[in-house]
C-alpha cells in the first residue's frame, strides 16, 4: 500500500496551505512568551516538509523533529529533508513522543495524521498534555470524512449505513470514548466532525485534570484553532496553547482573538479557497483589502473594483478572507 504522500502532492493542497500560513501567523505571537528560536517544532513532515520549510523560514525555529512511521522508506525521507536542522525520528508517534522530553522546552507539536481519529491518537494527546512545558502549542489534524458501506457480498447480512458508521467509529475509538449523547447519531461528515472534536476535547480535559491533581503549578489549555477544510477528504484541525498562571497576562497580550481565523469554541473556521486564475488573483489583490469589508448593497459590492471582476461574488468573498494566505501555483521549469 502506498502512503498518502505518494498519492497526493502535498504542496498542491491549497486549503491546507492556507491553514499552514494562518497557523504560522498565529505562532508569531508566541514571541511575547519566549524567543521563537527557543521553540522546537515537532511535526509529521512526510517527504514534502511543507510545514517545516514554512516554520523554519518564517519563525526561525532551528530545532525541528519529524516523526515518520515508515522506516523502510528512510532513504527517501532523508533525501528530501530540506534543511540540516530537521531530525527525523522513525517509529510510531505514541512511542516517539514520550521520549522527546516535552517537559524540557517549549514545543509546537502538530500531530498531522492522515487518518481518521483512532485510539493511538488519544495516547498522543495524553502524552502531550501530561508532559509538555507550558507555553507549548498543540495541533491535531484528522480526517473526518464519513465512512461508506463496503460493497456487499452475496448472502451477507444487511446492515444500515448508520449502524455501519457507528460500528466503524467504535472500532477506531472504543466504546468508552464515544460520548453517550453521540451514540445515536448518524456519523455523516458533519456529525463525525462534532464527535471527533468532542472526543479530542474530552481527552485533553481528562489528562489535564490528572496532571493538575497534585501539582501546585496548575496548567490550563486555551483552544485557538478549529479549522475545517476539504482539499479532498474533509480535515478537522484543532489546537491551542498550554499555559500556567504566570503566563496568563502574556496570553492576553497576544490577543489571538483579533486574528479572524482564531476559534476558541465549538464552531469551526471553514477554509475554502476558490479556484481562480492568476489574472483574476492579480485583479482581486489590487482591490484588497477592501475598505468596505466586502459589503454589498442591493447585491453589488460597494467596492466598484471588485464589482468589475467577472468572478462569482461568493468566490470573491471567499478569496477576500484568505487572500493573504492564498497559495500561488504555476508550472515552472526549474
Amino acid at each position: 500500500m502506498s502512503s498518502s504522500f505518494e498519492k497526493i502532492n502535498y504542496s498542491l493542497r491549497p486549503n491546507k496551505g492556507i491553514e499552514r500560513k494562518m497557523m504560522c501567523e498565529a505562532f508569531n505571537r508566541l514571541a511575547l512568551l519566549d524567543h521563537l528560536s527557543n521553540y522546537r517544532y515537532i511535526g509529521m513532515g512526510s517527504a514534502y516538509f511543507a510545514d517545516f520549510i514554512l516554520f523554519h523560514k518564517n519563525l526561525g525555529i532551528k530545532d525541528l523533529v519529524s516523526i515518520e512511521k515508515e522506516e523502510a522508506k528512510k532513504a527517501r525521507f532523508e533525501f528530501n529533508k530540506p534543511f540540516s536542522c530537521i531530525d527525523i525520528k522513525y517509529g510510531n508517534s505514541s512511542t516517539i513522543l514520550p521520549n522527546l522530553e516535552l517537559e524540557k522546552k517549549k514545543n509546537i507539536v502538530w500531530l498531522d495524521y492522515d487518518d481518521k481519529l483512532s485510539d493511538f491518537m488519544f495516547a498522543d494527546i495524553d502524552t502531550f498534555f501530561a508532559n509538555s512545558a507550558t507555553g507549548s502549542l498543540f495541533l491535531l489534524s484528522v480526517n473526518v470524512e464519513e465512512a461508506y458501506l463496503p460493497s456487499k457480498q452475496d448472502g451477507e447480512q444487511k446492515q444500515s449505513l448508520k449502524e455501519y458508521r457507528l460500528e466503524e467509529m467504535l472500532g477506531r475509538v472504543g466504546y468508552e470514548r464515544l460520548p453517550n449523547e453521540f451514540m445515536d447519531l448518524n456519523f455523516n461528515t458533519k456529525n463525525r466532525t462534532m464527535v471527533s472534536f468532542e472526543m479530542v476535547r474530552r481527552q485533553i480535559n481528562t489528562t489535564l485534570i490528572t496532571r493538575n491533581l497534585s501539582t501546585e503549578n496548575k496548567v490550563y489549555y486555551k483552544q485557538l484553532f478549529n479549522f475545517i477544510y476539504s482539499d479532498n477528504a474533509t480535515i478537522l484541525t484543532v489546537g491551542g496553547i498550554l499555559y500556567d498562571e504566570s503566563q496568563k497576562d502574556k496570553l492576553n497580550e497576544m490577543s489571538f482573538s483579533n486574528l479572524d481565523f482564531i476559534r476558541e469554541q465549538d464552531e469551526a473556521y471553514r477554509i475554502s479557497a476558490p479556484n481562480l486564475t492568476l489574472r483574476e488573483i492579480k485583479a482581486l489583490d489590487k482591490a484588497l483589502p477592501d475598505k468596505h469589508n466586502i459589503e454589498t448593497e442591493r447585491g453589488k459590492f460597494k467596492n466598484k473594483k471588485l464589482e468589475e471582476i467577472p468572478v462569482i461574488p461568493s468566490d470573491i468573498q471567499s478569496y477576500a478572507k484568505v487572500y493573504r494566505y492564498y497559495p500561488n501555483f504555476a508550472e515552472a521549469l526549474i
Binding site: 523502510a72 521520549n99 495524553d126 502524552t127 490528572t210
Partner: protein
C-alpha cells in the same frame, strides 16, 4: 451510657455488638492476607529497632503453622506496655498515636482482624526495651461478655514496667490456638504453605534482599533481585517527586526475558503491593483505554518499578488490605499517568525489536536485537541502579542507530500459480523440491541467460 439512651425517647440506639464486629472484620480478608498483616507488623517492629534500615542481617521473623497452632515470632522492638494498653488493641487508630516512620502495618485494624481470622485463643508475649507483658485473649469468652466491656487483660504476674531489657532480647511472639476452620484446613495443605512462602517472599523481597531472614515452617525464604539493564547502551527512564515527608520514584526499562516477571512492580514503604502487573491496575488497559496496549509477548522484557515512601503510612496510595492500589487516589492517578508515559517510552524499543525480527530479515541484519541481547545478559539490581540516578533522565535511551528493519520497498515480491504437472517437470529438472527455491532459480536462470 446505653442505659441512659434507652430512657431518652429522642435518641436512637446505635451500639456495636462484638459478634457483628468480628464477623464484619474477618469478612473481607483472606487467611493469606491476615498472615501478611502480622508479617508487616513484625517488619515494622524490626525497622523500629534497626539502626540502619538498609542492613537487616541480624533480624529474623519465624512463622510456624500446623493443625493446632499458628506462631509468629520476631526479634524486633517488641511492644511497650503503654502502647498495648492505650492503642494497639483499639479497634481503629487513635489520632493521638504517633506511628513509627515509614511503617507498613502498625497494629492498625490488620492485627486484630488477623487474630479473629486465624483462631480464638490468642497469646502475646512481648519484650520491649523498657517493659514487657503477656496477654491472652479468649475470643469466645470475650464475645460472651455482652456488658459492653471492650477490654482485654494482661496475664496476671506477667506485666513489668520501667525496666531495662537488653536490645538482644526484645521481640514479640504471637501464638494462636483453637484455630478457625479456615486455618485448620489450610495449614495442613502443602499447597497453601507453598503459596504463602512464595507470596511473603515476594512481598518482602526488598527487605529479604537487605538481609532480613523470614522462615515459614523452618524454610528460609529467598527472594530474587529485581533487575534492570543499565549500561552504556541502554539506560532506564527515571522520574521522582520528593517532598519532605514522602517521595515517589519510578524507574522503567528492560530486563532478561523471563515471561512471568514482566510488568509493573509497585512498592509502598518497601513492601511489594503490586507484583509483575500486566493489567489495567497499572498501565495495560488496551488501546481503547487510557493506558497502553494490552500486555503481550512482545513486552516480556519490560520492567517498571515504582517506589512510594511516606513517613506516615496513611499517605500511601494503597488499598486497606494492601493487596492493590487505591485507584481513586489523586496521588496514584498522577503517578500512574507517569507510569503510562514511561511504559510508552520503553515500548519504542520493544516495538522496534519486534519489527526488526520480522520474517525475511536475516539474523545478521538484526543489529539492534543483537546489541540488546548483549546488554540483557548482565542486568543490574534495581537498588544499585537507584543509587546512581544522577546518570539517568526522563527519557529511555537505547542505540536507535542500530535499528535495521527489513527494507520492504527495496524488494519486489512475485507470486504466481502454475499447474502441478508443469511444476513437477521443472522440479525434476532442477533437482529442488522447495517451491520458493524453484521460483528463485527459474528467475535467476532467465536473468543470467537473457539479461
Amino acid at each position: 451510657m446505653s442505659e441512659e439512651l434507652n430512657d431518652d425517647p429522642t435518641k436512637v440506639k446505635a451500639d456495636p455488638s462484638k459478634d457483628f464486629f468480628i464477623s464484619m472484620l474477618v469478612k473481607d480478608i483472606t487467611l493469606r492476607d491476615a498472615i501478611g498483616d502480622l508479617v508487616d507488623n513484625a517488619v515494622d517492629a524490626i525497622k523500629a529497632k534497626a539502626s540502619n534500615p538498609e542492613a537487616l542481617d541480624d533480624y529474623e521473623i519465624s512463622i510456624n503453622l500446623d493443625i493446632d497452632s499458628f506462631t509468629i515470632k520476631d526479634n524486633g522492638f517488641g511492644m511497650e506496655v503503654d502502647i498495648a494498653r492505650k492503642y494497639a488493641f483499639n479497634f481503629g487508630k487513635s489520632h493521638e498515636r504517633k506511628l513509627t516512620k515509614k511503617s507498613i502495618g502498625q497494629f492498625g485494624i490488620g492485627m486484630k482482624r488477623a487474630f479473629f481470622k486465624l483462631g480464638s485463643n490468642i497469646h502475646i508475649n512481648s519484650i520491649a526495651p523498657s517493659s514487657q507483658f503477656e496477654l491472652t485473649i479468649d475470643v469466645n469468652e470475650w464475645q460472651k461478655d455482652t456488658s459492653n466491656n471492650w477490654q482485654f487483660e494482661f496475664d496476671a504476674g506477667k506485666l513489668k514496667e520501667n525496666i531495662l531489657n537488653n536490645h538482644s532480647v526484645t521481640g514479640l511472639e504471637l501464638t494462636i490456638t483453637k484455630l478457625s476452620n479456615d486455618s485448620k484446613t489450610s495449614f495442613v495443605d502443602k499447597t497453601f504453605i507453598d503459596k504463602l512462602q512464595k507470596e511473603i517472599a515476594l512481598e518482602h523481597m526488598l527487605n529479604i534482599n537487605k538481609g532480613l531472614v523470614i522462615t515459614i515452617n523452618g524454610a528460609k525464604l529467598s527472594a530474587n533481585q529485581i533487575t534492570l539493564v543499565n549500561d552504556d547502551n541502554i539506560k532506564p527512564t527515571y522520574w521522582e517527586k520528593t517532598a519532605q515527608d514522602e517521595s515517589v520514584k519510578i524507574i522503567a526499562g528492560i530486563s532478561a526475558k523471563d515471561a512471568d516477571d514482566g510488568g509493573w512492580y509497585i512498592f509502598c514503604n518497601n513492601r511489594l503491593i503490586v507484583a509483575k502487573d500486566q493489567t489495567a491496575e497499572t498501565v495495560w488497559t488496551g488501546g481503547k483505554g487510557d493506558g497502553v496496549p494490552k500486555y503481550h509477548a512482545q513486552y516480556h522484557r519490560f520492567r517498571g518499578y515504582t517506589f512510594f515512601e511516606a513517613n506516615d503510612s496513611s499517605k500511601l496510595p494503597w488499598n486497606t488490605t494492601k493487596t492493590g492500589m487505591d485507584m481513586d487516589s489523586p496521588y496514584y492517578k498522577e503517578v500512574r499517568s507517569k507510569m503510562i508515559n514511561m511504559t510508552r517510552q520503553v515500548m519504542d524499543l520493544l516495538d522496534k525489536l519486534k519489527e526488526e525480527k520480522e520474517k525475511g530479515n536475516p539474523e545478521d541484519s538484526q543489529t539492534l536485537n543483537k546489541e540488546v541481547e548483549r546488554s540483557l545478559s548482565s542486568p543490574k539490581p534495581v537498588l544499585e541502579v537507584l543509587k546512581e540516578t544522577i546518570n539517568l533522565d526522563s527519557s529511555f535511551h537505547y542505540p536507535i542507530a542500530l535499528f535495521n528493519p527489513i527494507k520492504k520497498s527495496k524488494a519486489v515480491k512475485i507470486t504466481y500459480q502454475i499447474s502441478p504437472e508443469r511444476f513437477e517437470a521443472v522440479k525434476q529438472s532442477i533437482g529442488e523440491s522447495n517451491a520458493n527455491e524453484i521460483g528463485l532459480k527459474t528467475f535467476d536462470y532467465y536473468y543470467n541467460n537473457e539479461i
